[in-house]
Symmetry: C2
Subunit: 421 residues, 2 copies
């Protein structure tokens, strides 16, 4: 793994395989007899490697860039080796108490109110689902969720599973939810996104918080990606008002160096989560005065994810995380300036964090083909979105290994391929 991480920047970021190719190279059945672990490592190199998409590469700029950092990787080894199972406090006091402590640490780093209740989920899909389930329980009969048309698809999926009607509010020309169009009648939950997936736009959090308070509506903040930026004082202004939310999701497996999976969910109304999810059958009933974090969510058995969050927070420290996020924002601003300074290109959304949305001044089709050529080169990997109906390219910076040279490479590849249009 150490040598993989040393050379990952040399590998094609997006693999050059066709569907079924990896599958065809693997045996159709499990072996009858044991094989050594070295056979796994050999096949990892020979068979699987060509089918990996390298999120660890400093040249991954697609979707959101992530990092499985070294302390996080080593911590996953410890997690698996200890194999702790959080069901009750007693099935792993260390798991539960370390989770409480690390979530407190993180809340402090983010400037969240003291005493806010946090726990870890696998992904934001689950965090959003359980938050909306709590919201549904908190306001019986109200069966509508509102969010902007730029909210993440996990909101659609959660609303569908919970059989809640989802009303999408139009956005303004900076892709922010328009509060003048926000109708909270019959609504159980309103969702503000800080850092939307398309463009990292920021909804009017404080205005929405006030409206929700006035009308008794659960206010949920989705800061799955951008939440990490709250560790930087100069970026904290984007978060004004999130401290008033009933629930907040931030994913440390996105921009904080924790390997997938680690999504943190905070609430100021833990009793609603507990009422919604707590259920203790006889075989789990023990004379324990302390509750379990499993009572605050859908899944019974918890992994020891707190251990990797703990390792990352300690091995980088507040200053280390702050420095990395600040550098990513600097690199994104630099790339944005290059785009702005070149008449062939245009920036198509405000840049708040480390994502730049841009396009060639050409047709959607030409931009789409450009992206295909760029990604087919394997040198860098970018993704796209649609903004105000137009195709937009996205360059997301967030990998801890990304340097200015990598961003420069992306710009060079884009310009090289643009000429071929």
């Amino acid at each position: 793994m150490a040598s993989y991480l040393e050379r990952v920047h040399e590998l094609p970021v997006l693999p050059q395989v066709v569907p079924g190719e990896i599958r065809a190279a693997l045996p159709a059945s499990a072996p009858d007899e044991p094989e050594p672990f070295s056979a796994i490592l050999d096949d990892l190199d020979a068979v699987l490697l060509p089918g990996l998409t390298h999120s660890q590469s400093p040249r991954w700029f697609a979707y959101f860039a992530i990092t499985g950092s070294e302390p996080g990787i080593l911590a996953e080894l410890l997690i698996a080796g200890l194999n702790q199972l959080g069901i009750l406090w007693r099935t792993s006091p260390a798991l539960q108490e370390l989770e409480e402590v690390t979530l407190d640490w993180l809340a402090q780093l983010f400037g969240l109110p003291a005493g806010v209740h946090g726990h870890i989920e696998d992904t934001a899909s689950t965090s959003t689902l359980v938050a909306l389930a709590a919201a549904r329980a908190a306001r019986p009969g109200a069966r509508v969720v509102v969010c902007s048309e730029h909210a993440h698809s996990s909101v659609d999926k959660a609303a569908k599973l919970l059989e809640l009607e989802l009303r999408k509010v139009p956005v303004d020309d900076e892709f922010r939810l328009r509060p003048d169009l926000l109708d909270l009648d019959g609504v159980c939950a309103a969702i503000a996104t800080i850092g939307t997936t398309s463009s990292t736009s920021v909804d009017p959090v404080e205005t929405m918080a006030k409206r929700c308070e006035q009308e008794g509506v659960w206010f949920h903040v989705d800061a799955a990606y951008a939440g990490a930026a709250a560790v930087c004082p100069e970026l904290r202004h984007h978060f004004t008002g999130w401290e008033r939310a009933d629930s907040i999701v931030v994913n440390p497996h996105k921009w904080l160096g924790v390997p997938i999976d680690c999504s943190t969910l905070w609430t100021q109304r833990p009793e609603v989560f507990r009422d919604t999810f707590s259920l203790v059958p006889e075989y789990l009933r023990v004379d324990e005065e302390v509750g379990s974090l499993s009572e605050y969510t859908q899944v019974l058995g918890r992994r020891f994810r707190a251990l990797k969050l703990w390792a990352v927070l300690r091995c980088y420290g507040r200053s280390g995380l702050e420095a990395r996020i600040r550098e990513h924002v600097r690199l994104a601003a630099l790339f944005e300036a290059w785009v702005r300074d070149d008449d062939r290109w245009e920036v198509v959304a405000p840049r708040h964090f480390s994502l730049v949305c841009f396009r060639l001044r050409a047709s959607d089709e030409e931009n789409e083909r450009l992206l295909e050529r760029v990604n087919a080169s394997g040198e860098v990997y970018l993704s796209h979105t649609k903004l105000a109906g137009a195709y937009a390219l996205r360059l997301a910076i967030g990998n801890f290994r990304t340097t200015e040279d990598d961003v420069r490479l992306a710009w060079d590849v884009l310009n090289r391929e643009a000429v071929r249009a």
Copy 2:
């Protein structure tokens, strides 16, 4: 981790800490400056170790016994190091295709029909939830789920989240759902458990499968623990009829040596799952002919769990897994014989797999105090349940490191503490 696993049998299985003790030993805030990883390891030993409950101990006999095996532990390091993110096929072709392949391998080992569609979830809580969501979608208007009164609490939680009415059917004197009391009117899903959590009883699977087919009801089989036993031909008879299920859950993180988390979910109706969960937003839309496994479940981003399942299946082989499960069943039969041969004790449920339910011929209170003394010793860890209204002790064998000596120790500790009653 290697030295931990070598000496884990010497550690008190259940920790001797009080609530808050671990928390109090940890700093109240994250450090400002980076610390070395060695500080994590030091504190793991000094601060966290006293608060761990050792599921890796061969003397863990509580709930169900599990194993984070060496190949699975090393694979978790690889999973974190590669940090693959399964969203679309292209975000990791290797992740998706290895998951398909290993699930095929496992289906073959279990004797499931060729072509059954499988994917991996985190835990059985999620597998059950998504299976019941599919069942709800498959029969609009039917809002009732039926299962035995011994079904797992995750069924209760899933039904609650999905706002389905849960009807619990009484069991016979061997703790099996009574099919004569099974009413499928208005029912969207019926659940049979192969290996209930309380006693590993086996519901009448084939009878239920037929009834469900006749009445167009989704038939779900929960074999989260016992499913692994299907690798042994001599135990396969317990599974007759499960091949007719619409969905089946088995957790390789329970009895197959895979570290937490790994729950496998199979279905013969993948199109229903896809209709229920598929939702592709613009920023994930690409010209791909191949679907993603994310379209079959609630969570968007998948971990590379297939890698640890692959490592375990290869490093043990079919024969190795079969041998371990067979040995656990032999040890449980041995313990059962000891209990039956001693007039002070009684067996209180049929033993089908590797769990023995038993009690001292004494009051519930005496049995409860006995269990407290046994667990307080730290030498072994057992749990309890209630069967037909009476308190029962449970000895679950399933850790790969457990030997006859460990089972003998449990019996000796039980007898020693019983004398103190």
